[in-house]
């Protein structure tokens, strides 16, 4: 079912749990829909005018439907109490102690994500909006000793695998929404509030890239645009033994011939950045 739904690759510890939730509900939906659907089609054929000239005043006499509705209600209750509520409380209540987690601040703005690492000392330096400038988007106070070793990046979030991550999320201007689909993380970033999100990455970016890599037969004519943004995961050498298409480079029209006469017919490509920090809220 998961593949049928086409859920993206799971890169976090809790991802599979959320997917299971989604899959379970869709089973219920599928059963209901096919059930009612077949009934529907049957009725339309069985009771069409030409086949059933005189309508039956009474219609359905038994009350099976009430039981059916009862059952649906029960299943929904199970999904809710058995799965949804525990999972949600796990997401928002069971936040691991910051001592054994990677802690970062993220401050959204139109249109960038400012990432603030506390640095080795594990303490965030003071920030002050009066200090905000193009160079210092967070208004970090560099005179604060705690700030000395702090690191600030933009639109880039580097995290260790296998260790819980706690993000203190907020926004400078309007409402944004931190969206990491592969990690099944989505959380609104609301100005004036700091909200904690946590998750445990289980796969490195390289591995994600490999799982996403696909074989493509070498295009005959020009490079089609859907291949353009992709990159190779290995060096491709021409027949003279030297690299024509280096690892991490993307396919271009001019290298195609040399690849062809090197007898290369297929090529493995993957997205350059398999996962980005997306924003899921209309923010201008």
């Amino acid at each position: 079912m998961g593949d049928f739904l086409g859920l993206p690759f799971d890169a976090s510890a809790h991802g599979p749990l959320i997917d299971r939730m989604i899959i379970l509900v869709h089973w219920l939906m599928l059963v209901l829909f096919t059930g009612w659907g077949t009934y529907f089609v049957y009725v339309l054929l069985r009771f069409r005018r030409s086949r059933n000239a005189k309508a039956d005043y009474q219609g359905v006499r038994n009350h099976a439907s009430s039981y059916l509705e009862g059952i649906v209600a029960v299943i929904e209750a199970v999904l809710l109490i058995g799965f949804a509520i525990p999972l949600w409380s796990m997401r928002v209540n069971d936040i691991p102690p910051e001592s054994d987690a990677t802690v970062v601040r993220m401050v959204a703005e139109q249109f960038a994500w400012n990432v603030h690492y506390p640095g080795p000392d594990g303490v965030f330096g003071k920030t002050d909006i009066s200090l905000i400038s193009a160079e210092n988007p967070l208004g970090l106070d560099r005179n604060d000793p705690a700030a000395k070793d702090d690191i600030v990046t933009i639109n880039q979030l580097n995290l260790p695998v296998g260790k819980p991550v706690i993000i203190h999320l907020s926004s400078k201007d309007v409402i944004h929404s931190l969206n990491l689909p592969l990690f099944r993380v989505k959380q609104d970033a609301i100005p004036g509030q700091s909200i904690r999100v946590w998750f445990t990455p289980t796969v490195t970016t390289a591995d994600i890239q490999h799982t996403m890599a696909k074989k493509f037969s070498l295009p005959s004519g020009k490079v089609p645009e859907e291949l353009a943004p992709l990159v190779t995961l290995a060096d491709y050498t021409g027949k003279d033994g030297q690299v024509v298409l280096a690892k991490g480079a993307s396919l271009t029209d001019d290298v195609l011939p040399s690849l062809r006469d090197a007898g290369i017919s297929e090529i493995i490509l993957a997205p350059e950045t398999p996962t980005e920090i997306a924003c899921a809220q209309l923010c201008g």
């Binding site: 086409g6 859920l7 993206p8 749990l17 989604i22 509900v25 939906m29 829909f33 009612w36 529907f40 009725v43 339309l44 009771f47 069409r48 005018r49 059933n52 005189k54 309508a55 039956d56 219609g59 359905v60 509705e69 649906v72 209600a73 929904e76 809710l80 799965f83 509520i85 949600w88 409380s89 997401r91 928002v92 209540n93 703005e109 139109q110 909006i129 009066s130 905000i132 400038s133 193009a134 400078k172 201007d173 309007v174 409402i175 969206n179 689909p181 592969l182 993380v185 989505k186 959380q187 609104d188 609301i190 100005p191 004036g192 350059e272 996962t275 980005e276 997306a278 899921a280 209309l282």
Partner: protein
């Protein structure tokens, strides 16, 4: 009645306009960054330099599409038009209780609509913060947002006047013998709908006033302290709360979505009973379900806000209410399904649309369930899955029901029927293409593609796998547009040239068919006050010669 017709025409035109906006957007989604053919140049450099749509313009179109479709298209058509024309006839009333109020309500709606449209012409263009107008974005937005707010205040006022009128009419002007349990289901739907409008809209009006203050008087109801917009600290004093807007907005907007669906269900019930030639199955349970649905719709609003930082207790509450509210919908749909059993089904044009409504609403409703379970919503929130969900309920759901109503009551309004062949063409094409537009949205949504992206997600690698669907969806959307031409032609052609038909063309039992067709526009519906002797759906009662027994027919015809 005149007002009902005015409402219908205006609303249809707005629907067409709102759809046109979307057909333009669909170009940008299918071919991001490519110049819009033919009309591209018309939008001016501010919106689309040499025909290439700018993100700002895309956002304007999106926000206005949503607003127009909901507040200027579907609600006025479902409530203003059908409610005003059909409901008084169905309860055997001479007119609405407050004719003057009724006229006011239409003209205020009209002004509100013009206000909305005018916002495209002002510098900075129309509102661009989504139909949800979330603060702070909407507060720092261009002047278009102010116009949007003023327009909304008109529309809200109009709806309030309307609903007061509806409720009074239904309580006070029912014909002799027409007890509540004899009311056609459509009237019940209108009654509950009116209560929703009456009691859910004022909070949005309040919110609108507060946002106007924020924008014009420099207050900070929705603006927290310490905002820095594009490097510049904002002057406002702060101390406000952006989520306050969301609470007030959804306190209206969830009930609003049932305002969109209940009249549709009412129409479907009328058309189905009439074309199965048998009574509505489980009429009472449907009525109670509707009342319950209406009430519950006031306590689920925060299921639109799961990801605003909600804890377990409150989220559990709103998840629970959301699951609960799905039950009455299931009951209503089940009743409609079972009504088909044992019927003698005539596949007339209105019936086709009414039947299509069932599975379409089914899909839309069922896809509401995963959204209602907060953990699943983490992945699906603000993706195209949501867009797919609600379009299935509003477009192939509500819109189809409204089409059914148009074909069904057209003979009553004009004394002529709409052409059947054209009707069938309109149905089958619309049915095929509308699914072509919305079904792929679930695939994109499950893949995690966000909504409201002016490039349809092309910028994100996680979206690459499903981007190719955009072209298909857009083509379907444009074909869906073409599929409306037979309808529009049929509509106007039939008004003047359509085949003349009898007062009770469909052999229906409800009171509106007892009145003369295209009754005099002057107030006063019936020659003599009708009296009611039985329930609304006495089709093929045992031992009756004809297969229907009108509500106002005095004695059993043995």
């Amino acid at each position: 009645k005149t007002i009902g017709i005015q409402y219908a025409i205006t609303a249809l035109l707005f629907l067409l306009f709102g759809f046109t906006l979307m057909m333009i957007m669909r170009w940008q989604l299918a071919y991001p960054g490519q110049s819009i053919p033919f009309i591209g140049k018309l939008f001016g450099d501010a919106n689309a330099p040499d025909g290439v749509m700018l993100p700002e313009f895309y956002n304007q179109l999106g926000a206005m599409h949503g607003t127009i479709m909901v507040f200027l298209g579907v609600v006025p058509l479902a409530v203003g038009a059908f409610g005003n024309y059909v409901m008084p006839l169905q309860i055997g009333a001479p007119d609405m209780a407050f004719p003057k109020l009724n006229m006011m309500s239409y003209w205020i709606y009209f002004v509100g609509g013009l206000t909305m449209l005018s916002s495209f012409l002002i510098p900075g263009g129309a509102a661009s913060s989504g139909w949800t107008s979330y603060a702070p974005l909407s507060v720092i937005a261009t002047a278009g947002q102010t116009v949007w707010l003023l327009g909304m205040i008109c529309l809200i006022t109009s709806s309030l006047l309307g609903s007061v009128n509806f409720i009074t009419t239904i309580f006070q002007l029912r014909a002799k013998g027409l007890s509540f349990m004899r009311l056609p289901f459509f009237v019940w739907a209108q009654l509950v709908t009116s209560f929703l409008l009456l009691l859910a809209f004022p909070p949005l009006e309040a919110a609108g006033v507060l946002q106007l203050m924020d924008r014009l008087a420099g207050t900070s109801f929705f603006m927290p302290s310490g905002l820095v917009v594009s490097g510049q600290p904002l002057a406002n004093t702060g101390g406000g709360n952006p989520l306050l807007w969301q609470h007030l907005f959804w306190f209206l907007a969830h009930p609003e979505v049932y305002v969109l669906i209940l009249p549709a269900m009412g129409i479907v019930a009328e058309v189905i009973t009439n074309n199965t030639r048998k009574p509505l199955w489980g009429y009472r349970s449907m009525v109670y379900a509707t009342i319950f649905l209406g009430f519950m719709s006031f306590v689920v609003w925060a299921h639109h806000m799961f990801l605003t930082g909600m804890g377990t207790v409150i989220s559990s509450f709103f998840q629970a209410t959301t699951m609960i509210i799905s039950i009455p919908s299931i009951i209503i749909l089940t009743a409609l399904f079972l009504s088909l059993w044992g019927g003698s089904i005539r596949f007339t044009t209105p019936m086709l649309f009414a039947l299509a409504f069932l599975p379409m609403f089914g899909i839309g409703g069922l896809t509401g369930l995963p959204l209602g379970l907060a953990p699943a919503d983490i992945h699906l929130h603000d993706t195209y899955y949501v867009i797919g969900h609600f379009h299935y309920v509003v477009a192939p759901g509500t819109l189809f029901a409204l089409f059914a109503g148009l074909y069904y009551w057209f003979p009553k309004v004009t004394g002529r029927k709409m052409n059947d062949t054209l009707g069938r063409i309109h149905f089958w094409l619309s049915f095929a293409f509308i699914n072509g537009v919305f079904m792929p949205m679930f695939i994109q949504g499950l893949a995690g593609v966000s909504r409201r992206l002016y490039d349809g997600g092309a910028m994100y690698s996680h979206a690459q796998g499903v981007m190719h669907l955009n072209v298909f969806m857009s083509v379907c959307a444009w074909c869906l547009g073409l599929a409306q031409i037979p309808f529009i032609f049929n509509f106007f052609w039939s008004i003047w040239k359509g085949k003349k038909v009898s007062d009770n063309y469909w052999d229906a039992t409800t009171l509106e068919w007892a009145a003369a067709s295209s009754p005099p526009m002057a107030h006063g519906n019936f020659a003599t006050a009708p009296e009611v002797y039985r329930g609304a759906y006495e089709y093929s009662p045992p031992g009756n010669v004809s297969d229907f027994l009108p509500q106002n027919k005095p004695v059993e015809a043995h």
